[in-house]
Symmetry: C2
Subunit: 156 residues, 2 copies
């Protein structure tokens, strides 16, 4: 139950997604939508980075952190149905075959859970307007993104 | 001031974006990020549609509505700098030249303000779990998307 709860709470990967979420979209839609969501996260991360490295504007950081939080809690796992391990959205998917393997579930659950936790914390810290704390949390959030990229995303 | 406030409150288009928001990203980044954000909205709209037309799951609708709300309040206008009227992100941008013209500002402000209002209302209604009210608000939100598409987006 614990793993299932973690999965459902964050990226909602593979097993959880097929049982808990309605499947929406053809495989190519799923791949394009998930690539879009990740790039929306990349934009939001770039916005926070610009603020912690340049002139700090609380509103901009809150806006970006709220997008990250909402996407992190949107159960994107529903966009990783078993038939989406290859194929093209905006471009060829970079997901590794390991992502879909049963033996990866525990690790995916840990990675997804950690990401969701750091994303929620990012939104909480952004709302305080404490630029130093935002910078520190931005680092932790970036590490939690990287954990999944390193393990489950192919290099370009 | 009123128009500026509306702009800043929602899509934050053109004039407001150049004065209020830090510009992040090269033109091709801005185009790819905004195409990504719109497709993240399209995914979220498809999720809500699947719920109001099929088995209703409150959590899924809340997740999708929260993404729409966060993106609607993220001041995407910062991704429409004057040098992004043509060019390629994932694909060639479909923004019309009218979008960037000074005489469009009032209408853009109205359209962006209406969209932000309907997106915030969508999140509020989703949280109530009232499927009928969600269906009605989904229609209003879709209309507010369409208002901009009809006026400022080229057909494919």
């Amino acid at each position: 139950m614990k793993i299932r709860t973690i999965l459902a709470a964050s990226l909602g990967l593979t097993l959880a997604s097929t049982t808990l979420a309605q499947v929406v979209g053809k495989p190519e839609d799923q791949i394009r939508w998930r690539q879009s969501a990740y790039h929306t996260l990349a934009w939001s991360m770039a916005r926070i980075k610009a603020n912690v490295e340049g002139t700090y504007n609380k509103d901009q950081v809150v806006e970006a952190a709220n997008v990250i939080q909402a996407v992190a809690n949107s159960k994107m796992g529903a966009l990783f149905q078993p038939n989406t391990g290859s194929g093209k959205g905006w471009k060829e998917t970079r997901v590794k075959p390991e992502f879909f393997k049963a033996e990866s579930r525990d690790e995916l659950g840990r990675i997804a859970g950690a990401y969701g936790k750091e994303a929620n914390e990012m939104a909480r810290v952004a709302a305080t307007g404490d630029a130093g704390a935002v910078k520190a949390q931005f680092g932790k959030l970036g590490e939690s993104c990287k954990a999944c990229h390193d393990k489950f995303r192919k290099d370009e």
